[in-house]
């Protein structure tokens, strides 16, 4: 699975996710990536793209949940990501990337690693795999 989330200089958020799904999957299997709210979500406060165990991501409506706890619990982006990874995945293994309309960037995962990279306008840039 691959994904990208962006907030532009005008504060507009967007997310995209694309995948081939599971190796040896049954024909017709649909994972989290195309399901808005599960694997991909964007609104006026954040954008999120997920990867990992699709069935667990679907059960947890993971991407939308980040926006929801920001909206209803008043959490900041990193706190929202941490909350969702810890509280909404049950035993599933997954990760996500996120940005907020205020120009923050965040990621989280509960497995060994996640291929990811992020950058911000103030010069921060990071590419990593492991925790």
């Amino acid at each position: 699975t691959v994904g990208c989330v962006v907030v532009d200089s005008q504060g507009r958020c967007a997310a995209a996710t694309s995948t081939g799904g599971l190796l040896n999957k049954r024909m017709g299997r649909i994972g989290d990536s195309p399901l808005i709210g599960a694997g991909t979500y964007a609104c006026d406060i954040c954008a999120v793209s997920c990867t990992g165990e699709g069935e667990a991501i679907i059960r947890g409506t993971l991407a939308r949940e980040v926006g929801a706890v920001m909206e209803y619990k008043g959490l900041g982006l990193q706190d929202a990501v941490d909350f969702v990874i810890k509280e909404r995945l049950d035993d599933g293994k997954a990760g996500l990337i996120a940005v907020s309309k205020t120009g923050e960037v965040s990621y989280g995962f509960n497995c060994v690693g996640m291929f990811r990279g992020c950058a911000t306008q103030n010069g921060f840039m990071e590419v990593g795999i492991w925790d």
């Binding site: 997310a15 049954r26 649909i30 103030n122």
Partner: protein, 195 residues
């Protein structure tokens, strides 16, 4: 006004024994697409255009599991899916079951922009792709030799695999000498190699 920010991912769940050269390849690809997105943002690209641009690039590279290089189904074919969402107005588009569309994320964008729907799948999505005139290719384009070998091993292991792949070499010794007790699909995590 807040500044721009961008994040990309290429899948979660990585074999702790991932060879250094594969790690380096992954980092180089991630850095390249990140810089592509950064350049677009510096040129005042909109968020929705930048996410499509970056994901298209990742789909076109066989390294990760999307587009060319997608994981294979039980029948040895590729069935892809993608989605895109614009936070402005919460507009969205999604596609599933694609077999011949070169860049699924761009078809998802067309579903969002050019159709009254939010999600098209299988034959309906392929028909829409033809109507929209997007680039289409044979299913073989998406299939890599590595993935053919991995499907063979997955069938032998009677296992489905999410964002991991079984290594084509060293399979017989996998799972030995690894301290982590973590398992997936009933198999030691160490037998899986990342994308």
């Amino acid at each position: 006004m807040a500044g721009w920010a961008i994040a990309v991912h290429g899948g979660a769940g990585v074999d702790p024994n991932l060879p250094a050269e594969r790690q380096e390849q992954a980092k180089q690809l991630l850095t390249r697409v990140l810089n592509l997105g950064i350049d677009a943002l510096r040129s005042s690209g909109s968020a929705i255009d930048v996410v499509e641009l970056v994901v298209r690039e990742l789909e076109s590279d066989p390294f990760f599991n999307s587009g060319r290089g997608s994981a294979l189904t039980e029948n040895g074919t590729v069935e892809m899916e993608a989605s895109i969402m614009d936070g402005v107005g919460r507009r969205c588009g999604a596609v599933s079951g694609l077999t011949t569309v070169k860049n699924p994320v761009s078809l998802a964008r067309l579903v969002m922009d050019k159709s009254p729907h939010s999600y098209l799948a299988f034959s309906g999505a392929e028909k829409f792709a033809k109507q929209m005139g997007v680039e289409m290719v044979d299913n073989d384009y998406f299939i890599t030799q590595d993935n053919v070998e991995m499907l063979k091993l997955a069938k032998e292991a009677d296992s489905i695999v999410f964002d991991y792949r079984i290594p084509t070499v060293g399979y017989e010794t996998c799972g030995t000498g690894v301290e982590s007790p973590f398992q997936m699909n009933g198999l030691p995590i160490s037998i899986y190699a990342p994308e």
